[in-house]
Amino acid sequence: MKIFNRLHVSLPTGRHAVIAIPFLWLLLFFLLPFVLVLKISFAELQIAIPPYTALLEWSGEQLRIVLNIGNYILLGEDSIYLLAYLGSLKIALISTLLCLLIGYPMAYAIANSSPSTRLMWLLLMMMPTWTALLIRAYAWMGILGNTGLLNQFLLWLGVIKQPLKILNTNAAVYIGVVYTYLPFMVLPLYANLIKHDNSLIEAAQDLGARRFTSFWRITFPLSKGGIIAGCMLVFIPVVGEFVIPELLGGPETLMIGKVLWQEFFNNRDWPVASALAVVMLLILLVPILLFNRIQAKELEK
């Protein structure tokens, strides 16, 4: 009887523990850190360890809260920050569209290939995502450089007389971003397209619709969820991308991830870096919430 009672008590606690362990981990190491970023974005730079002032101060009997909005004013005043945000958004938007244009036909072809080759295509698509982004961006450095393989090839063909300057320009950043993020577009699109019911297409074709019409009126609208998921998986991380603009971009490449990195590692200005992160999060809040909603729907299916 005693054992029975103990069991009864331990059942709900077991359930609670299963919820509590990942919940507390994520609260502590994912959510709480954002609160700290917000806090330190209101602090001032100070030469000390850690290099920022405290917000809460005891002065005599009173608790004083010092909020310094200077960092945010700086972000508005110095045009380099605004240009970096706009530059990031522009690069992210254009490369997301490019990924969609290239990735959609690829995902469509994989979903329509025979089951035996489908697995091979999928693994070929996934394999680059298991390889470091750093290495994939680095691979392009040797190809796009002034004496790189692409220029040598074009010179040899006689298409150009002078080597093209591609590395350290925005063109190289676009190539690098599309290259590294293409699988993140293709995989969710494939996951969506493979679930489609083929009988709809057959019905449309029986009724005399042409292949393109049945694709455009049936397949494409049905794949909306996959398109949004893929676009978010590309767009959001690219806005904060650091490695690709650093390795492939040049002085004209202004991206916010790179600026944040420089504020933090070169200028050691943690408060300004935090303010940059807060504004970036605010910009990305709507896309992130959209992504979470789609993912939650996917999980409930």
Binding site: L7, L11, V18, P22, W25, L26, F29, F30, P33, F34, L36, P105, M106, Y108, A109, L119, W121, L123, L124, M126, M127, W130, T131, A132, L133, L134, I135, A139, G142, I143, G145, T147, G148, Q152, Y179, L182, P183, V186, M232, L233, I236, P237, G240, E241, F242, G257, W261, F264, W270, A273, S274, M280, P287, I288, L289, F291, N292, Q295, A296, L299
Partner: protein, 268 residues
């Protein structure tokens, strides 16, 4: 029936686009010349010089160590999170929980890295831990974002499996933890392996987050590679990158064999 179509053509071109740079990288890692863009004949000298590069080898082992811990912890945490997402549909804070599981998938790395560093600094001030940033802090950071990937992989498997077996065991009086380890775990084992591999690869690949949360003298392999290539292409880095590509391709090939066999079994 193979017929020409636009999408097929795009698939072939896309695959060439993805794999050509990697092939070029591997070919040039066998270049004898120190000038990386001039072909000087075949040689394996950059591979043998790697073994003598003590700093790089230390970083390799440090990265492998962190990746192993990350794979273990993220698989455990991610599986718990997946169980919560698929089996406990009603509890307070579920929306918040779901958001915290999926948001790390898209969160820009600079934000995650900066925020975790600020947490570690604040913790060191408050409770005196962690005094030194290094393997432990990188491990915690990697576990946190890898958990999201494991949770997504495992929860999709959890939704596929037949729950009636678990229910039967419950009716026969098995305790929940016993059902989980004797019935659920064997059924979701492939997803657990896939999740662990994913976490291992993510940890091994990460540069940005590790750079933020690491301390002096604790650099990982990507950090070493990054500081070497910032200023240009280096022949010995070509060799390291090729070895990483080789390892990933071998794992992919192995996976292909296993999955193909499974699929054939399913068809008969």
């Amino acid at each position: 029936m193979v017929r020409f179509s636009f999408s097929r053509l795009m698939l072939y071109l896309g695959m060439i686009f993805i794999y050509a740079p990697m092939v070029v990288l591997v070919v040039y890692s066998f270049n004898a010349s120190r000038l990386v863009t001039v072909w000087g004949g075949w040689s394996t000298r950059w591979y043998s010089s790697l073994l003598h590069n003590k700093q790089l080898m230390t970083a390799v082992f440090r990265s492998l160590e962190i990746a192993t811990y990350t794979a273990l912890a993220a698989t455990a945490l991610g599986t718990l999170a997946a169980l919560v997402l698929t089996r406990f549909t009603r509890f307070r804070g579920r929306t918040l929980f779901g958001g915290m599981v999926t948001a790390p998938l898209v969160m820009p790395e600079v934000i995650t890295g900066l925020s975790l560093l600020l947490l570690f600094v604040a913790m060191a001030q408050l409770i005196g831990w962690p005094l030194e940033r290094g393997v432990t802090t990188i491990w915690i950071a990697h576990t946190t974002f890898s958990t999201a990937y494991v949770a997504i992989i495992v929860s999709s498997r959890l939704r596929e499996i037949d729950q009636s077996i678990e229910e039967a065991a419950m009716d026969l009086g098995a305790r929940p933890w016993k059902i989980f380890f004797l019935i659920t775990v064997p059924m979701i084992a492939p997803a657990l392996v896939a999740g662990a591999m994913m976490a291992f690869a993510l940890s091994l690949d990460d540069l940005v987050i590790a750079s933020f949360v690491s301390g002096p003298g604790a650099s990982t392999l990507p950090m070493e590679i990054f500081s070497a290539v910032r200023l240009g292409v280096k022949p010995d880095i070509n060799a390291v990158a090729s070895l990483i590509l080789l390892a990933v391709s071998l794992v992919t090939l192995l996976l292909w064999f296993i999955l193909r066999r499974q699929e054939k079994k399913r068809r008969f």
